[in-house]
């Protein structure tokens, strides 16, 4: 049903779509691109192409049935993930150099159009790049492949048992040109770096409001998570019934869970801008950035990106702190502030010349975007209350927790 075509390599999992059909794909894509009607699904006759693009490669699945489209796209992205883990970069060369492994992987990842084992850590246990060397290890299927716990192998050993927990919150904000916040939400993610021996049972405690309500506890600050998504290791039905997050973690790095909080947050870095465009002569930009978070906290690596017309020239800047730089290929000014303490306010002025002949091409109105990172702080106030680690050998393990808040999709529309 699906085949995977990288112009370089393809695998026909079912015989029902002619391999030559893919020849129609690129012309079709070009045609849609020209018409400005690009769409992730294209069809030619009875064949439907579902594609994604990764750097300069197209990953295309073809079908002539009413296939599950969301499964196809999930799988294609998974494919990118697995190949990237195997070859560092997924690009033309890495495929060509490793085509034997690629074929082996494609065989394990999917059979007759049904995705199979897609966990790269497990795949690495029996499909390796150095074929000859690992002949012995390869001669048996890791039980993990078909285990109920298909994400962790048995017999992992560490001298020191530790688990690192990163709580990362990204702020998405959309602010209107007149300064009102159109939408804002927090997308949080809890990442683990697990260095634990054996098959440990973990339980994570958060200050989850629903849990506190369930257990009748009411002290302290709690957080309402709007929607929670878990790594497949978490027992979903357990969470559904009593909000307990219990799991056997995958080894190494993984994203344990993500959540979304819909509360209205004050934008942590507030931007006021005045952009005045005097046709045929100049553009004047004044941007004020204000840190709307606790004084004790500091935002690092702040970048305020201000759009400028594509035909602007001769930039001049003045900043009260940090550095402003004109990036002509992106038509923007990037104002960088290494360290931005809470409660402070900074200013940047920019002046550009405009050519006397007007550019008659219409330009979009890109928003101002902001990037930042605030360590030791979560906007939502979410906290890891405990991480219990139980393994039958009874070792003591230490959990380490780090918090960080960063910008996500942080856009402020402008008037010009």
């Amino acid at each position: 049903m699906y085949m995977h075509v990288l112009v370089l390599i393809c695998r026909n999992y079912k015989g029902d779509v002619d391999m030559a059909e893919i020849d129609h794909f690129m012309p079709l894509l070009m045609q849609h691109e020209e018409e400005g009607l690009l769409c992730p699904v294209l069809s030619h006759g009875s064949v439907h192409f579902m594609w994604i693009k990764h750097s300069n490669l197209y990953l295309v699945a073809t079908t002539n049935k009413n296939s599950n489209a969301s499964l196809v796209y999930s799988f294609l992205y998974k494919l990118v993930e697995v190949f990237t883990e195997y070859f560092k970069e997924l690009e033309e060369e890495s495929i060509q150099d490793n085509f034997v492994v690629v074929y082996e992987l494609l065989d394990e990842l999917m059979d007759f159009g049904f995705p199979q084992t897609t966990d790269s850590k497990i795949l690495q246990e029996y499909i390796t790049q150095e074929g000859a060397k690992l002949e012995v290890a390869k001669s048996k299927v890791p039980t993990t492949v078909t285990n109920a716990v298909s994400w962790r192998s048995e017999g992992i050993k560490y001298k020191k048992n530790e688990v690192f927990i990163d709580v990362i919150e990204s702020i998405n904000v959309l602010v209107n040109a007149n300064g009102s916040v159109m939408s804002s939400d927090i997308v949080g993610s809890i990442k683990l770096k697990t260095m634990l021996s054996g098959m440990p049972e973990l339980r994570l405690g958060l200050n989850d409001r629903v849990l506190f309500a369930l257990t009748g506890r009411d002290k302290g600050k709690t957080v309402t998570m709007e929607d929670v998504k878990f790594h497949q290791c978490v027992r979903l039905s357990r969470f559904e019934s009593d909000r307990t997050i219990s799991f056997i973690p995958p080894d190494g790095e993984s994203e344990l869970m993500s959540y979304r909080i819909n509360t209205h947050v004050k934008p942590l870095i507030w931007i006021e801008s005045i952009i005045e465009k005097f046709s045929h002569s100049r553009v004047e930009i004044m941007v004020k950035a204000k840190g709307q978070f606790k004084k004790q906290s500091v935002a690092n690596n702040v970048e305020v990106r201000v759009p400028v017309p594509s035909d602007a020239d001769s930039p001049k800047f003045k900043t009260s702190t940090g550095n402003a730089k004109y990036v002509p290929e992106k038509n923007m000014v990037v104002w960088t502030i290494k360290s931005f303490p809470g409660g402070k306010e900074f200013l940047m002025r920019a002046h550009f010349g405009l050519p006397s002949v007007e550019n008659d091409e219409l330009e979009g109105k890109p928003p101002i975007t902001v990037k930042f990172e605030i360590p030791y702080f979560t906007v939502s106030g979410i906290q890891v209350r405990y991480m219990k680690i139980i393994e039958k050998s009874g070792y003591q393990a230490l959990p380490w927790v780090r918090y960080i808040t960063q910008s996500g999709d942080y856009q402020l529309r402008t008037n010009v």
Binding site: L38, N68, L76, D107, F114, S139, T146, K229, S237
Partner: protein, 948 residues
């Protein structure tokens, strides 16, 4: 690492070189040679000449080498079937290898070798592998059954593999269960009627248990399979929902969407007052919103599905408007979808915010997006009355930008706003007129002309404005020409003195100088109206128009129901039923939502929808004036995609039904007569003179039992006959038949190309006909038909097309076009095809109706030589939607009381008498016609005749 320059092979003598290397004694050298072969194969070179040499390398203990050889086999076995047999032995051996990886590899590859000859050799190894101790082998073998089924379905059935596969659903390993489910679902897809998946509460329980343990992909297979199940009652439905909801927290978007599909479907069965129903609604919103932070392609799939969900259950996302606001860096396809959903969610509560956003979008640079944003503002005005004024002023602001396409789009939507709120916003006309010259798109020009004509009395220079358009009349598009004609006639009726010349000019342009039949027709109608009775003309042309409705772009409810059952799939992305884009999907069941508890609302068949439409219209034989006017005035202005009067099947149906009764009643009786009569063996005796000659393909055919003993009861479909001989159609031969499958009337055709050249670009059209049959979609001939090739197509038909009485009644005139020419033929469809699924009348209603029918509406005839007893006849007829309501036995004579309903809402009641033990089986029946005009108020027609 492999640092061999595998992809640099070019030399032509390489085959010989490779051959030598493949036969080398050194293992390493062999392996590298095979790698080179595969590399050449990958870049598309033909290395099939090396087949025997590569296959010789198959017997090796090196796994990597084995995999490569297998890969080679999969590619070339088909082109070298005789040689492929050489590989069989190794497969058999490998399936018994102590290493499960090799066993699985062998069984996986086996299924990919699509050579008929060798499949039978593979059955034994497969059987063993299905029972293998290692789950990795079992899960691979499960998939192999599906592969084998694809090559040779009969073999798989004969070998009992399907039962083994069913047993695997109870396997202890969740991955095996998941693959077995996937394989069975795949097989079931090609066998729509087989009860392969035999879902019952026990298997459902097993699936739900496996759901908690298998991989993300396995969860998708299981959820997709669950979605096909129909719970017995609301309690079972609730308990399944409870066990599926945790999946909404899965990180994989595809798992979430499949879970949403199951929940949306099973929710139908929950009573709305149940607490759990409300809880479930609340639980659905957050995961749907989170899907919007996935990768853009997944977002797109999610948005297309949300569009369906919002139409079915608007309450789920009504508070989530903000998440659909467009981001600057969204890809265009995501932007357009978000806009669509924003309009669907627009309400009085959030309209201010929505409008502010839309205005922002309308000043963007992407033309398609901007146009859609402007259109969206118009739709908001029509949808939320309180916002209309704000919308109009926003549109005026946009017109001031003078951006050409913004202005044109704005004028098109303002015209719609005028239609919805007449005499309210004419003050803006002056501004609109200023922009007259910049309009270069037909739709905008037509809209502007409509506005000028409609408000001609308030525009001082209306005549000048319209006259300016008249100069280039013949260069305008039809849409503009028609509109100009109507507008000038309106102007004339409003200001007769100054515009006489103008109207004459346009009428002569339209009637004498134009070769467009629509334009000529409309011109003549106006001309005659104006010349015979100007007062009547005024009444007709200037009559008040019906207001346009707000939501004309909604997906038709039955289609929506079907699409909800396909959430997450391509069908939900295209918003088309799978039958519209999957070849060979005819006979595949259209999925339907289960009926809700207590109320049977969604259990209604599509036909009731149109019947209900009939019942709402007043029972008038002449179409009401409004309809006619609507016809005359608004035909072109309002394409169905924007807002305009919805097509009125109801009035069409009404007329059609009446028409049939007016003159067609007796022929309908005749048809039924012929139907019940002729085919029993001998032609019906005692045929009343007024009946047309028996038409083949009536009810009689339903009794045709030949060879169908033991077959499941299904609607009767006559064998295909030749409709269009190749002689008459430049080599195109069409044979076909009609069938009713799963509630859908289908025209099944075989197109055969008997000419020398390729035929492409097929299209089909029907003439108006007695029951409003019309193609429900375009003719799906997706590949060109080569010489001496035939192709099977199934065209689903709807019954909402235009109606005209035909002689004979079931005559259908068809035009088929291809790249060569247009051809016409006519065929007759069996009346039984029109019997709808819900034609079973309540007993009481039947009784009451039967009595109420006047005597002159009854007909009677006899059927001879029917070798069926009454029960067999009854169940046979039921297969064709002729329902037995009651049975009575009087003196050894069985009397069956039956009802059936035609697609246009006409009920037919019948009494069927079967004399048991009579060698010359006589069946007598009595027909009654009932036309349901409105709920309780029957207008009955009854024909009666004596027993024969």
């Amino acid at each position: 690492m492999c640092d061999f320059p595998f992809f640099s092979l070019v030399c032509t003598g390489e085959i010989f070189e490779l051959k030598a290397e493949l036969n080398s004694d050194k293992k390493e050298k062999k392996k590298e040679a095979v790698k080179k072969v595969i590399a050449s194969m990958t870049v598309g070179k033909d290395v099939s000449a090396l087949f025997p040499d590569v296959v010789n390398c198959m017997q090796t203990d090196n796994l990597e080498l084995k995999k490569l050889v297998y890969l080679y086999l999969m590619n070339y076995a088909k082109s070298q079937p005789d040689m492929a047999i050489m590989a069989v032995n190794t497969f058999v051996k490998d399936c018994e290898d102590p290493n499960p990886l090799i066993r699985a590899l062998a069984v996986r590859t086996m299924g990919c070798i699509r050579v008929d000859k060798i499949t039978e050799y593979l059955c034994e190894p497969l059987r063993k592998c299905l029972k293998d101790e290692d789950p990795y082998v079992r899960k691979t073998a499960a998939v192999c059954v599906a592969k084998l089924h694809d090559i040779n379905a009969q073999l798989v059935e004969d070998q009992g593999f399907l039962d083994t596969l069913k047993d695997l659903i109870s396997d202890s390993n969740p991955m095996v269960v998941a693959n077995a489910v996937a394989a069975l679902s795949e097989i079931a897809e090609s066998h729509p009627n087989s009860n392969l998946l035999d879902l019952n509460p026990q298997t459902i329980n097993k699936l739900l248990t496996a759901l908690n343990e298998c991989t993300e992909w396995g969860q998708i297979f299981i959820l997709d399979c669950l979605a096909n199940y129909t719970p017995r009652d609301d309690r079972e439905s609730q308990s399944i929902c409870e066990r599926v909801t945790p999946r909404l927290s899965h990180a994989n978007s595809a798992v979430v969407l499949s879970a949403v599909k199951v929940l949306m479907k099973f929710m139908e069965m929950l009573p709305k007052d149940l607490d759990y129903y409300g809880t479930l609604l609340k639980k659905l919103a957050p995961p749907l919103v989170t899907l919007l932070s996935a990768e853009p392609e997944l977002q797109y799939v999610a948005l297309r599905n949300i569009n369906l969900i919002v139409q079915r259950r608007p309450e789920i996302l009504k508070h989530e408007m903000k998440v659909f606001f467009v981001k600057y860096n969204d890809p265009i396809y995501v932007k357009l979808e978000k806009l669509d959903i924003m309009i669907r969610l627009a309400s009085q509560a959030n309209i201010a915010q929505v409008l502010a956003e839309l205005k922002e979008y309308a000043t963007e640079v992407d033309v398609d997006f901007v146009r859609k944003a402007v259109r969206a503002i118009g739709r908001c005005a029509i949808k939320v009355e309180q916002s209309a004024e704000r919308c109009v002023s926003t549109l005026l602001d946009l017109i001031q930008t003078k951006v050409n396409y913004v202005v044109q789009e704005a004028i098109v939507v303002i015209k719609d706003i005028f239609r919805k709120y007449p005499n309210k916003y004419e003050s803006v006309i002056a501004t609109l007129c200023e922009n007259l010259d910049s309009l270069d798109e037909p739709e905008a020009r037509a809209a502007m002309i409509w506005i000028v004509g409609e408000y001609a009395e308030r525009i001082d220079n209306a005549d000048e404005l319209l006259e300016s358009f008249l100069e280039g009349f013949h260069d305008e598009s039809t849409q503009v020409q028609l509109q100009l004609l109507t507008a000038i006639v309106k102007l004339f009726l409003k200001k007769p003195t100054e515009t006489q010349e103008l109207v004459q000019q346009v009428l002569s342009l339209a009637t004498q100088d134009s070769d467009n039949p629509d334009l000529r027709d409309r011109g003549y109608i106006y001309w005659r109206l104006l010349s015979t009775d100007p007062v009547a003309a005024k009444e007709v042309v200037l009559a008040e128009k019906p207001l346009i409705s707000e939501e004309t772009d909604l997906i038709e409810p039955t289609l929506l129901e079907e699409l909800i059952c396909h959430i997450g799939t391509l069908a939900s992305v295209y918003h088309k039923p799978p039958s519209a884009f999957v070849e060979g999907s005819r006979g595949v069941q259209h999925k339907r939502l289960p009926g809700s508890a207590g109320s049977g609302e969604s259990a209604d068949s599509p036909d009731t929808g149109s019947a209900a439409g009939v019942s709402e219209a007043p029972p008038a034989v002449i179409p009401s004036q409004g309809d006619l006017l609507g016809d005359l005035l608004n035909l072109d202005l309002t394409p169905p995609t924007t807002s305009g009067p919805p097509p009125a099947p109801s009035s069409g149906m009404q007329m059609g039904a009446m028409d049939l009764l007016g003159g067609g009643l007796d022929s309908l009786v005749g048809l039924l007569h012929a139907a019940m009569g002729a085919g029993f063996g001998a032609p019906p005796t005692a045929m009343p003179a007024s009946f047309p000659p028996p038409v083949s393909g009536g009810l009689d055919d339903l009794f045709d039992l030949g060879g169908s003993v033991g077959m499941p009861m299904g609607a009767y479909s006559p064998p295909k006959s030749i409709w269009l001989p190749a002689m008459k159609a430049k080599g195109l031969e069409i044979s076909g038949t009609f069938a009713r499958r799963a509630g859908v009337i289908q025209m099944e055709m075989t197109l055969t190309n008997k000419a020398m050249s390729i035929m492409t670009d097929f299209a089909i059209q029907f003439n108006r006909n007695s029951f409003g049959l019309a193609p429900a979609g375009p003719l799906q001939v997706l590949t060109p038909v080569g010489p001496n090739q035939s192709i099977e197509v199934a065209l689903p038909l709807s019954t909402v097309g235009p109606v005209m009485k035909m002689e004979p009644l079931t005559n259908l005139q068809v035009a088929v076009k291809n790249n060569i020419d247009v051809f016409y033929f006519s065929s007759q469809y069996p009346i039984s095809m029109l019997f709808v699924e819900d034609g079973k009348m309540e007993r009481q209603v039947f009784l009451a109706t039967w009595k109420d029918i006047p005597n002159d509406n009854e007909a009677q005839f006899q059927i001879k030589d029917c070798h069926l007893n009454s029960d067999a006849a009854s169940s046979k007829l039921q297969g064709s939607n002729v329902f037995t309501i009651a049975k009575r036995t009087v003196e050894g004579q069985d009397m069956l009381y039956q009802s059936m309903k035609l697609t246009n809402g006409i009920w037919v009641l019948a009494e069927l008498r079967v004399q048991a033990g009579n060698p010359n089986y006589t069946v007598m029946s009595r027909l009654v016609f009932v036309l349901t005009c409105s709920g309780a108020n029957h207008k009955d027609y009854k024909t009666e005749s004596r027993e024969v």
